[in-house]
Subunit: 342 residues, 2 copies
Amino acid sequence: LTGATEKIKIKGTKSISIKEIAQICGVSTATVSRVLNDNGRFSNETKNKVLQTVEKLGYKTNNIAKSLRTKKTRSIGIIVPDITNEYFANIILAIQNFFFPQGYSVLVYNTNEDQGKEDLYLKDLEAKCVDGLIYFFCMEDRGQIDAIRKKIPVVFVDRNPNRKGAVVVESDNYTGGFLATEELIKSGCRNIVILRHILTNSTIVGRYKGYRDALNKYGIPFNPDLVLDMYVNANASKEAICRLIECGIAFDGVFACTDWLAVGALMALRKHNIKVPQQVKVVGFDNVSISEYSSPSITTINQDKTRLGEIAAQLLLDMIDGNSIDEKNIILPVELIKRETT
Amino acid sequence: LTGATEKIKIKGTKSISIKEIAQICGVSTATVSRVLNDNGRFSNETKNKVLQTVEKLGYKTNNIAKSLRTKKTRSIGIIVPDITNEYFANIILAIQNFFFPQGYSVLVYNTNEDQGKEDLYLKDLEAKCVDGLIYFFCMEDRGQIDAIRKKIPVVFVDRNPNRKGAVVVESDNYTGGFLATEELIKSGCRNIVILRHILTNSTIVGRYKGYRDALNKYGIPFNPDLVLDMYVNANASKEAICRLIECGIAFDGVFACTDWLAVGALMALRKHNIKVPQQVKVVGFDNVSISEYSSPSITTINQDKTRLGEIAAQLLLDMIDGNSIDEKNIILPVELIKRETT
């Protein structure tokens, strides 16, 4: 064991070159050889460094070699729009809690609703050889969505790509939109604003359809001036509601398609000294902490975030294990949580 | 190419056995051989299935084999107490945004401040062969913290383990605690409650020391009855403040060591019809959205979450690349954000 091209074997798997160890430790190949042959003339520090490096590389090598044998990396990817949004974070947490005891770790990719990023992430997930993907897509290109499904098991959560054979777990957004609007109507509202995400995905389409059908059922004419589209943040909805007030467009109810949009609406109403719920009533969607702890607390539609994550995780594990999936489109029930804004 | 033990080579790397492909596709080894030799007698469906499997396995094999050659998985781990807390989520986001363009993906592990979980995660990170770790520890066992540092590059964020040579990025918690308390004193408070996390880590120690020193500086006697320890959630602090009121212990200011604890304090004060800021003033810590959007909005200490994440990520990349680290303990400045509760 003296030449730089020689290799050593550890724990019966892949070999590591003396040269590699020397490079990492910043010593000569001769020194590495002396340590490995226990042939004097090196400090204790050098000895420890070399032996630790050998152990470390051996361990890593063994584990990667195992992945190569099993063709499994025991990791899954999650592509998600915004981990700083508690709604998504709760689902990710449920997925991680499900998968960790199964021996899987979770790679998290945040798109910020940027299709360019999402495209790069899909490529990276392939390169990282994940065993499966849980996918909150923003991608409008259904071709790319189909392409990734051919390569790895994919479960779609929250947003439905409406593709044949796709495995999807989503909330009953239609009923949520209906219940939210009905709650406003039953509280006496007749001019109901809807605050929507500007990106049209299945969640928004469903909630909007529920809104329209509730208006219809109660014989309230639809007014397109009351449909406001924006990016999902409180400031955007605050500005939108302020503009509506300043333009003198009358309204007595607001259905916000997320709780954070509802928070912005409350700020705008407060700014204009409009009393909630006396003058204007507000309903949100998601049931994240802000809806419970804001003042007034916000009536909202609860989505079962933990179950969304758990069911998606179970379905993905079944797909990874090659089990058959009986029901490919799981729709979870939602419920109205009545608080102080209605 | 007819026997089950034969192997095929793809893209010049590792070979895959015919048997393996047959098993995955659920066909006989003879069928796989016929497809690969384009030797008739198989359906188009079978052909596509076999070829796709070969391509998929080949790709995965290639990439894992590359990891084996380079001894790098191009992934890093993050161990974090609570991804549903926007403070942590913002730091994770900054880390992911930094690492992705460098070709690294991010494995996220959520401890919920559970040392047992954290211990399992450390083992899993080793098994997954991550190239480095960003570590918000809850572990009290410094031996385990030292052990992981010997195995992989580690950067500690938010919480300082106070270990020789450890690379740490943290906010100036002492100054934060001092500024928060000083703001309350300068607004006229003399009996100032501090709401602390029950787990004693460097962030709490620093903020508490700042609180004590500010009281000292302004000649205000310390009252141990006003130090309340709890788990970090709004309901816990609401209950703690309600108990204080019901016990008739007088106070005119609250320094909450997180914004969510401040939210709970506001709820308790509202419940008892105590006016904020007229009768009791409140300061939070972190500057997460809830502090800006609650009503009244909460005066708080800003932590630069994006910079905490970016600097930690840069330091970890330097360590992975074998660059020397000049400054091992980075302390980022904090600032008081004045809002409606003081």
